[in-house]
């Protein structure tokens, strides 16, 4: 099962090719500030997702003397994300049923 940082990275890249630092900021926004990726987590995840075929390197640009490496999500990456969503939704539904069947209704 895909973990939270990876889920958010794939989500961040989904609309259009993005570069590492841009993804870092997108993930922060997408998660309402809850997830602040460390550089180590980000670039390791990016390498892994490329190796797994969920992302590909789209292009490399030099902007203001700094390298920007753009990553693009693949059809496989989209499929991974969609399957992950379905699985999470199924788990959530199951958890809600379990919580609602508690005697002392702690579930709101």
């Amino acid at each position: 099962m895909i973990r939270e940082p990876t889920f958010l990275i794939l989500s961040a890249v989904a609309p259009r090719p993005s570069h590492g630092y841009g993804i870092l900021k997108s993930v922060e926004v997408l998660s309402d500030g809850r997830v602040r990726l460390r550089p180590g987590t980000l670039y390791a995840a990016l390498d892994r997702l490329v190796a797994e075929g969920s992302l590909v390197i789209d292009s490399e640009q030099v902007v203001d003397g700094r390298l920007r490496r753009y990553y693009r999500i693949t059809d496989e990456g989209v499929a991974v994300l969609n399957e992950s969503i379905k699985r999470l939704e199924s788990n959530i539904a199951a958890a809600k049923v379990q919580l609602s069947s508690r005697p002392g209704i702690e579930f709101a």
Copy 2:
């Protein structure tokens, strides 16, 4: 962030006190067979959740010469599960927005 096996373990124990092996089977049912916990994962997670205060040992019984240790979810455990649900729902909603804003609509 809580991981899938832990999420399902907390969900499994939510309705009523359950023992290790029963939780193992519940998790399999709750996840539609997708998650089959290894004993190592289960009992390590149980120990961890007790140490963290999400579960408590409810009772121990000997049934047919075999020990059964029952775990009960605490209010804190219910809170952890509810917060986890909210967070996952928020991530899913964000991912769906991202996927729907793709040019070539791969999101169904």
